[in-house]
Symmetry: C2
């Protein structure tokens, strides 16, 4: 694996983005490198290619492992561990999404529910609770919906996305053919 300007620009940018998606810049860079590498890479080489310490690589790979985004590969005749990214780009996106839901959404929804169950002590809290309920409802809907979308195949989801907001028209269309409650 060679570090070329093309790969370097990708790795750098992806690293910046990583910190927006749930892991720090270096972890993002390690992951980017593994995503675009056809061959598994050992930790020492990652350290060399990215210009970071071997210890930092170890910690980064541990983090990526906790997200289940990378896997260890053992080569015959090699004691070193090699790493590569797991699954398709689609699988990766799913994993990141799933892990963020667990780490951010679920605790948030849980806290919002606790607050909603409290008794409002004054008008300030009553209004706050009303707003918090709205936030909770929206986040819950979005979370459940995106979760259900995960059960679709990549192909079917792609079809859905190509339909765009035309989905609204599909909903109207199906309404016309729905049998009336009382004819």
């Amino acid at each position: 694996m060679q570090m070329t300007p093309m790969i370097e620009s990708f790795v750098c940018h992806f690293g910046e983005m990583g910190s927006r998606w749930g892991f720090n810049r270096t972890v993002g860079q390690i992951y980017a490198l593994l995503v675009v590498s056809e061959q598994p890479i050992c930790a020492n080489e990652i350290a060399e290619l990215l210009g970071i310490s071997r210890g930092n690589v170890s910690m980064g790979l541990k983090e990526l492992g906790s997200w289940q985004l990378v896997q260890v590969i053992h080569k015959q005749g090699e004691r070193r561990e090699f790493y590569q990214s797991r699954g398709s780009i689609w699988d990766m996106a799913n994993r990141v999404f799933e892990e963020r839901r667990k780490r951010e959404m679920d605790p948030t929804l849980s806290l919002l529910r606790d607050i909603m169950m409290d008794e409002a002590a004054n008008n300030d809290e009553a209004y706050a609770q009303k707003r918090i309920t709205e936030i909770h409802d929206l986040l819950e809907n979005i979370t459940e919906w995106t979760q259900s979308l995960q059960s679709l195949s990549p192909e079917k989801l792609n079809t859905l996305m190509k339909l765009g907001s035309g989905v609204g028209k599909v909903l109207e269309f199906t309404d016309k053919f729905r049998p009336k409650k009382d004819a």
Copy 2:
């Protein structure tokens, strides 16, 4: 406006989440406070309620203004500026989403396109380019799709979300009624 344990727990949590959604903890806390406050709040009071400096409030409000998430309110007989969050919870979510697209997605897609147009110099780059193309395609699809969903009304979008992955069945249903190309 009183800072009660209920409101404080919300503000603290939301602040932590803010750093995952594009702005720092304190900016997130300022915003959380404004979201759950029925009345506009002046900068001095925000500083007192959150226990932060007046200068920090000023900078945070400036950031929230750049996201178009808050608005200034002028009261008759008052020289101070008051702030409140803009729009419904739904509007807020839309704004955050839109701004993140501009700040993160658009530059990412732009960079990925640049890389895709380069000539691969070796096998490493060819494979990297293939992967980058897949990432680009997926991100582009998701971005365009979510953008088109923004053109739906909250009610219609809510209906869609309640349908969940049943949307896949709707797609099959409409396929059955689509006129054949050559009958």
